[in-house]
């Protein structure tokens, strides 16, 4: 079990690299109105929405949904 921030960076790093993964998480935490560490499992939908929006132009829905499944499975 890891927290949402760690799980998101962990999964996205393998797909888009560590720096963009952290930037995506930062954007998601701003969307949620919280800091990285304060993100909870309940904020998953906000993070998922941000990932879909940011990566939707260069990653297929298959890739994005697999990534979201992986994040969910780590929580």
């Amino acid at each position: 079990m890891t927290n949402l921030s760690e799980a998101t960076v962990d999964v996205l790093s393998g797909i888009v690299g560590a720096v963009p993964a952290r930037m995506c998480l930062t954007a998601a935490s701003i969307d949620a109105g919280k800091s990285h560490d304060a993100l909870l499992s309940d904020d998953f939908d906000v993070v998922a929405q941000r990932i879909r929006k940011d990566m939707g132009r260069f990653a297929s829905p298959d890739v994005i949904e697999h990534a979201l499944d992986d994040i969910r499975s780590k929580l």
């Binding site: 393998g14 690299g17 720096v19 963009p20 132009r57 990653a59 992986d70």
Partner: protein, 278 residues
Amino acid sequence: MHRRRDRAVSAGATRTKVTVLVAVAGLAAALVLTRGSITGDLARHIGSYALVGFPILTTAWCWWCAAEMPTASMRWQWVFFGVAALAFGTGQFLEEFLGQINTGGVTFPDTLYLVAIATFGAGMWKALDSFKGFLNLRRPMLLSASAAGVVTVVGVVAVWGLFAEMQDALVYKVLLAVYPVGLLWLMAMPALALALTVSQMGSGVLARPWWAVFAGVALLTCSNVILIVVTAQGTQISNAGPMEMGWWLGLSLISLGAAMQIDIQRPTGSASVQGDPR
């Protein structure tokens, strides 16, 4: 369900393996030819068919990849790469089989090569556009444009005297300059911008197809630079030398990029997304 998934994973692996195999076969053939192990008409024929065959394969892979991509922002770059390879292959076909050999003037194949350069560039701009809003594009573009600017200034200074001495008409001099300038600004510059942009993704699996495309375009650019130099020197051009090897391998790498893109973007198991080599 699992059997269907396994079959799809296996198909994905086959795509990439077949592309690697074709690239290795092309490289091996090129090495045999350039070492002079095969000479004469056979070498010329192998070279001629390869110069037409590799672009056709690249077009097929790129358009297949385009057809597999789910959104327009992911599709058009591969359509452009396919058009570019087709224009290049058609130019080669006209030169190799219909005898339209480049004599220093501007022929129809030359026009097709310019179209190929422009459409390769358009493909890379479309690829860059797909990363807009996620990766930093401004710095890579500024760096690559600066590099192209410096090379242009150095090039102009280097050939200015040569151009001034030429007795040909101004229009011919302009046409002579179009190819290297087009190569630099339409192909090399966006390729560098794409590499710098994709480098922000580090070891991320989605960067891999673009590294293959960048390596391919870099090889094509090197081969074109060799072509410009040997044309300027008036050297006899063979159809199975290092220049052709660069074209074969460059096109193969772009095909490999297309195959990898299909495999990565259509994961049938999480293995591909996690970067597990298949």
